[in-house]
């Protein structure tokens, strides 16, 4: 007796279900895009453009991993965009302007992320605010805080040429021969694997999914919902700190008050990757793929001589399509 309520032959075969239909679609879309840009812009195929895509992917991937946890609890974290800039500005300021050792700068950056994550978590779980309103407020606060702390000055993290510039080589190691290895890709993969295990294989991860799936049932199973909900936002904050390190290593300088809009690319990447807006389902691998699509779009479109403003429209449309698929998927599920 078939105990499957829905799904045709394709969606029921075990391997497909193991990877997840959405992820396969995303991989296909990614391949099609790479082929399209490869054909349309010959320079796209070069190793160098792969490096520039990587630049763009590191920080977006870290943001994506972090925000995926919030999305899975059925919430959202809008403060990751301006937060990334705020933490990097504070950390960078301590290093370049106050002469503190680089390690201190890095630790402060990560600590700021964790603290902001904790604040977001407590406001959402204890204060009862709607997640997107709470993080909208912390988005504004983070934007102002970074600028106030540095007094409105752009901050450049130590350059690779200077001795303290080793943070940049963490993400992009240049060999003696001058060729650059996208080391950051390794860290992103490691983080993705670790967090994927954390999400699917550890108790806190399991409860975060449970909260997103059915908060009341989770509470009735005797699980401290507020604690794990806050944990999701702390994880998002920590990864925003990591993203701050990645961004400040890839790009020369960071202007105060920047970063607004970046959260949209990260959230869009997570949704394209199959994480549902209503919570309960989501995968780190899917998010990484979704982020890849966003960064290929952002770096590929200028190469096909598309005016900058057309890029904005295309990415906006891609986002709406991704969300529509998510809504259809949920309708089928419920």
């Amino acid at each position: 007796m078939t105990d499957k309520k829905n799904g045709n032959a394709f969606t029921n075969n075990p391997i497909v279900r193991a990877i997840g239909v959405q992820k396969i679609v995303v991989v296909l879309v990614l391949i099609i895009m790479l082929v399209f840009f490869g054909v349309a812009a010959p320079s796209f195929r070069s190793y160098a453009s792969l490096l520039s895509i990587m630049d763009y992917t590191y920080y977006l991937a870290f943001l994506g991993i972090g925000v995926t946890f919030c999305l899975i609890t059925g919430g959202v974290d809008l403060s990751i965009g301006t937060g990334m800039f705020c933490y990097a500005l504070i950390g960078g300021y301590l290093i370049t302007k106050q002469g503190m050792p680089v390690i201190v700068g890095i630790l402060v950056t990560l600590l700021c992320g964790v603290i902001m994550g904790l604040i977001n978590g407590l406001i959402v779980s204890k204060g009862g605010h709607a997640p997107f309103l709470a993080t909208l407020c912390t988005m504004m606060i983070a934007r102002g805080l970074g600028a106030i702390f540095t007094g409105g000055v752009s901050i450049t993290w130590p350059l690779s040429s200077s001795p303290e510039g080793w943070t940049r080589s963490i993400f992009k190691f240049s060999l003696a021969s001058g060729t650059k290895i996208p080391l950051g890709f390794l860290w992103v993969m490691i983080a993705a694997v670790v967090m994927s295990i954390f999400l699917n294989k550890t108790r806190p991860g399991r409860y975060i999914i449970a909260i997103g799936s059915n908060k009341e049932a989770t509470r009735l199973s005797g699980i401290n919902v507020a604690k794990y909900q806050t944990l999701a936002y702390v994880i998002s904050g920590f990864f925003t700190g990591l993203a701050a390190l990645a961004y400040s290593s890839a790009f020369q300088s960071m202007a105060p008050g920047g970063g607004a809009g970046t959260e949209l690319n990260a959230i869009g990447g997570a949704i394209i990757g199959g994480t549902s807006m209503s919570g309960g389902s989501g995968s780190i691998a899917g998010t990484i793929l979704g982020v890849f699509i966003m960064s290929v779009l952002q770096t590929g479109l200028p190469k096909v001589n598309l005016q900058a403003n057309m890029q904005q429209i295309i990415i906006g449309v891609v986002l709406i399509i991704a969300v529509y698929i998510d809504v259809l998927k949920n309708k089928k599920l419920s």
């Binding site: 702390f149 000055v153 450049t156 992009k172 020369q252 202007a255 008050g257 920047g258 001589n305």
Partner: protein
């Protein structure tokens, strides 16, 4: 409802402590009111309370309001240092403000109006967009408050509003960069059999100084290329403003192609994408960033492409202003060189002109000029003083 009132008082009290308490955040170098307060104390004790009118009052009573284009880039820090040192010397109080980004016209208009309301002795202004401040300029003229333009000044201002300008001639600055870049690529251009491409990375197509530096570069380099008998054309993907303003026709199969890229919004990642879109093309032989933001984008893009340099077959790169990234690029030979304005001098001259204007003396325009600096001459004191981390 008591809760509601409690919340109200709480938020107001919070605002009060936040504002009054930490004057300008942990930083010391930045907030000018902080430093000028200290200069306030150090000047002579005869600090008089009554407001100074525009007459020949003692220097100590003059209050100057300076509205810049922002504090984000290191360039503005240098202008600020010049302003502060001269203000200290002359014992005048200065309030130096600027919007949080160079494209935030709304904030600058608001700041200029607030400056007018502070009834200062004179105002220094670096307008992001003249049209947006026209009414305020007229009000300043009526109120008899002299305005001195600086950086890119206030082009197209109404009659009598701007008493003097101490600014950089951005068109000339662009031309200076073009001359030096062309000198380095002339051999390749003359010998070239197939089309060659020169890229311009611009932060926006709206602010006067950025556009003029781009147009100045394009017109000069086009002139030099035509002098060598090459047909010159703009790439079709180039930004319209630069095509119309420079007067160079769009022609994708000219011998000497100039391609101008402007990102959707002013972020490092989008400018870096534009820079790499230019650098990747095989026929690109030179690239120019028309301000600190765009020059940094070229460095970021080059980190992956390794195309820039002054050696054989490398792309000649030129930047603008300085800051840690660009100075390092010039010193290491990644950049052929870069144009620096004289921000420190500009700050000092600005305060001098403002004090003179406030005292009703005759003032005239000052071109603080700009220099092309390379690895060789960047350490000469005369240039070094204009470069800043």
């Amino acid at each position: 409802m008591k809760k509601k009132l409690l919340a109200a008082l709480l938020s107001v009290a919070m605002v009060a402590t936040l504002l009054a308490g930490c004057g300008g955040g942990g930083s010391d170098t930045t907030d000018t009111t902080e430093t000028t307060d200290t200069t306030e104390e150090t000047t002579d004790a005869a600090e008089t309370e009554e407001t100074a009118d525009a007459g020949t009052a003692a220097a100590g009573d003059l209050h100057l309001e300076i509205v810049s284009k922002g504090l984000q880039h290191a360039y503005w820090q240098a202008v600020l240092n010049g302003v502060n040192s001269k203000a200290e010397e002359l014992g005048v109080s200065v309030n130096f403000v600027g919007p949080d980004s160079e494209s935030n016209i709304q904030q600058q208009v608001q700041q200029l109006e607030s400056a007018l309301n502070a009834d200062p002795s004179a105002i220094g202004l670096a307008a992001l967009d003249t049209e947006s401040v026209m009414d305020l300029l007229n009000r300043a003229v009526e109120a008899g408050i002299p305005i001195v333009g600086f950086d890119s000044g206030v082009p197209g201002a109404p009659e009598g509003a701007i008493v003097a300008n101490c600014s950089t001639d951005n068109l000339a600055a662009g031309g200076l960069a073009a001359e030096n870049v062309y000198a380095a690529i002339q051999a390749t251009v003359q010998a070239a059999t197939s089309p060659v491409r020169v890229g311009v990375v611009a932060q926006d197509a709206t602010s006067e100084s950025v556009v003029n530096r781009g147009v100045g570069f394009i017109t000069k380099i086009a002139e030099l290329a035509e002098a060598d008998g090459k047909t010159v054309g703009m790439a079709s993907v180039s930004n319209e403003r630069y095509v119309t303003d420079s007067g160079v026709e769009v022609n994708d199969d000219a011998d000497f192609i100039i391609e101008v890229r402007v990102p959707a919004s002013v972020t490092s990642e989008l400018s870096a994408a534009d820079a790499s879109a230019i650098l990747e093309q095989d026929d690109t032989i030179a690239i120019y960033g028309s301000n600190e933001h765009s020059a940094n984008a070229i460095i970021t893009a080059n980190e992956n492409l390794n195309k820039c340099g002054t050696g054989e077959g490398q792309v000649i790169a030129a930047g603008f202003d300085s800051g840690a990234g660009i100075m390092d690029a010039v010193r290491s030979g990644l950049f052929l060189g870069a144009v620096t304005q004289a921000p420190v001098a500009m700050g000092e001259k600005l305060v001098e002109t403002l004090v003179a204007a406030a005292n009703g003396e005759e003032v005239s325009d000052i071109d603080t000029g700009c220099q092309w600096y390379t690895a060789e001459n960047m350490d000469d004191p005369e240039i070094a003083q204009n470069l800043y981390e």
